[in-house]
Symmetry: none
Subunit: 452 residues, 2 copies
């Protein structure tokens, strides 16, 4: 495929300029969980798109605005690219080696909050577009960008936005916000995302905290109420106890197991990376571990807070306690249904005092592994990565792919520059610059081959 | 008892001088939790004792020093008075109406950190001693003061200090650091303190937090492990499930119930003060509620912390989780024994991964309500307070009274100038000056009657 030489060479020679653009983008904090810097960041995205001749607009939602951009190309085909400009909160700050919003390059990596998830994905894609525009003057196909600002807080308004803008977003295929290589540097094709139902559970048992010498004996303790309510959701056997929780689960197919079986074992790698002594449910590795990782729905405590949390002891009984809990869903579970079942379960177990705040959700969605667009992305990867792209039928994480797959009817593929040590959502989030270049080169090929 | 006229009159006429001494004492910050001003404050106490002809010394411990002072009197009997010179941290500072360490008198009250707990208790007692010395030239009995500097941080070194100084501290009766009137202005005699065993339970399940889309499926979650371990300690029925936990509990006697029965009902007052809709265990009020408040040991979650606790959602699985838990103990439970049983229980339930940090403890201790010294204190109160002193056989809180009762073998009585709105441990801590005068007059009578 030596016909890509000029484009590849442009990508290599103009790398620094693209990284400068990424740095500016990462320098703008845009924390959706804290409603911080979102409008400012949306304006930066609009400007980046306009710089490439895209017709761009910042479109209001009931939450953070969506940036939409569109530029016509030579063929009639339309590629929709989905990204998000919001990032996770940077805390705990003390664990960062350089400030999260002052991106730094060290040893071939760039560090900063959101650099991997997913600001570099947008700028490397724009870098690929620049390569084509500078060398060929025009895009090979129509390109549409949809860049939202609430991905890290469950994309609460995206589904509604898509439903209201079906014509505007009409396309033939979709490239997802993320993708990347695994621990062997092999490119991966993730064809499905689990759904999610994220809630905050809270208890207010009194109007004020009370001395534990009194309260502990006779007054209701918010922390105990919350602890018992949580323990009623899932036991040490990891089975979720909410009646009907598993009712709509579609079990994995033989083809799913075949695809999972072809993937390398992950047990040792996870143990090393996370310092885990072992896995839950007595799992040790192999296909069973890989299947568990994606085809089984979960209930995870993401945070707990109540009462005194400082050094030493304080003899106080808390009046308030809360927990963040996420449920990862598989096809065909629905977040609204899980929410209803959770409320019914808590009431039935005597926990009507536990308040549920729904913080966001979306159902799972999958793309057919045998779709022709999947083949284009998989085939064009081989030249770049010197390795076959491996197909993963579904992954454990979630994202708002449901409306893309089910409302817009698109095959959704993943490609990108993620890698196992990228530390998304954690301190010292980073990208590898070699993968940044590879992703841009892969994008060039996908755009060109798709347009034929 | 008109033979107290001259002494009472001295107390009234020299009140301002005593309050000036209190002001100077309160002006010296002495925050044990922050190791701030302790030596300076111990020196002030030594000087105050020496001014009354006490032989005083500042005695080192492995923590804050103890001030010991002694002066001989006419009779052979010895009264030991226990106080502490340390105070709680003054934070939150913005809620104070006048600076915490610049004591001010407003509307018959003096405000300042530590003024009630318990610096005024020491100076009003010294004021009573002055009245006797100025009028009679000599004390009616031997008086010993033990004034420690770690009461607000669990008196960690006091028990050891007492064990090492049994001869020095030998006495016939002991007056406790606090005491006071209830919401009806009736003087109260609190004759027992519960014990305490304060622990931090923590779990480290991984070396780093992990994305909940991965961790939730296959890796151990510290927050879940802690939740399940806590739920194994106590269920919604409030019964503590640690095997052997109740083994050493001495049940309350018929006399205890009779004394509790004589006390006013607390149900409405607690509901109003804490905004409680009801009580635990189906309790509604009356003697059962009062008995539960003090004669049943507890297990209280004082704090919970794990993972993401900010606004909105963060999809992270925590690698670390911890809880502050206090057990209030009744006679004859021992903190070391409870700690051992807690460890054995967690291990037996499969929670060897839950670490226990012991943050402090002391056993419960009680004084016989029919002890002759109790009678002296109760009888002499009536003339001062125009009300009978009510006997509370034990209270829900804890304190270091065990070595006084069990190592020194003393009856320990409470008398003082606390009142419900004194705001100990809170902003705008204050004393009522009328109660300051009453306490000094009560002290004079107790010293004289005790010496007969």
């Amino acid at each position: 495929m030596s016909n890509y030489d000029k484009l590849d060479s442009y990508i290599d020679k103009n790398l620094d300029k693209s990284l400068e653009e990424l740095k500016r983008y990462v320098s703008q904090p845009s924390i959706s969980a804290q409603n911080l810097g979102l409008k400012e960041c949306a304006a930066i995205v609009k400007e980046m798109l306009e710089r490439r001749g895209f017709k761009a607009q910042v479109m209001a939602t009931d939450g953070a605005p969506v940036v939409f951009g569109e530029r016509k190309g030579k063929s009639d085909k339309t590629l929709l690219i989905y990204n998000h400009y919001d990032v996770q909160p940077p805390e705990p700050l003390e664990l960062w080696e350089s400030p999260p919003f002052e991106p730094q390059i060290r040893n071939g990596k760039m560090y900063g909050r959101g650099v991997s998830d997913d600001k570099s994905h947008l700028t490397s894609r724009l870098h690929a577009i620049d390569a084509i525009l500078k060398n060929e003057g025009d895009l090979p196909c129509n390109i549409k960008f949809i860049v939202e600002g609430e991905e890290e807080t469950s994309s609460v308004h995206l589904h509604g936005f898509i439903k209201e803008n079906l014509a505007l977003l009409k396309a033939d295929a979709c490239i997802w916000e993320f993708g990347g290589v695994d621990h062997r540097d092999k490119p991966m094709q993730y064809l499905g995302l689990r759904g999610i139902c994220y809630v905050e559970l809270s208890v207010t048992s009194l109007e004020t905290d009370v001395h534990s010498g009194l309260g502990g004996s006779i007054l209701p303790n918010a922390a105990w109420r919350l602890t018992w309510a949580l323990a009623s959701l899932k036991g040490v056997d990891e089975r979720i106890r909410i009646p009907g929780f598993y009712d709509d689960v579609v079990p994995p197919s033989a083809r799913d197991r075949e695809l999972m079986d072809a993937l390398p074992d992950v047990a040792d790698e996870y143990k090393t990376r996370y310092g885990a002594k072992g896995f839950i449910k007595g799992l040790t590795g192999g296909t069973d571990l890989k299947m568990e990782e994606v085809f089984v729905p979960t209930c995870t405590i993401c945070g707990l807070t109540s009462g005194y949390q400082g050094p030493g002891s304080k003899t106080v009984q808390p009046a308030f306690a809360s927990a963040k809990v996420d449920f990862r869903l598989v096809p065909n579970q629905k977040p609204e249904d899980i929410l209803k079942k959770l409320r019914a379960h808590l009431d039935a177990e005597g926990f009507s005092d536990v308040k549920i705040d729904f913080l966001g959700g979306e159902p799972a969605a999958r793309t057919n592994p045998d779709d022709p667009f999947v083949k284009i992305v998989v085939d064009t990867a081989e030249e770049i990565y010197d390795a076959k792209m491996e197909i993963v039928p579904m992954i454990g994480g979630s994202g708002p792919s449901y409306p893309f797959v089910h409302d817009l009817g698109l095959p959704v593929v993943t490609m990108g520059l993620g890698y196992p040590d990228t530390k998304a959502h954690a301190p010292n989030e980073n990208i590898r610059i070699d993968l940044y270049v590879q992703h841009a080169k892969h994008m060039v090929r996908v755009m060109k081959e798709f347009s034929k």
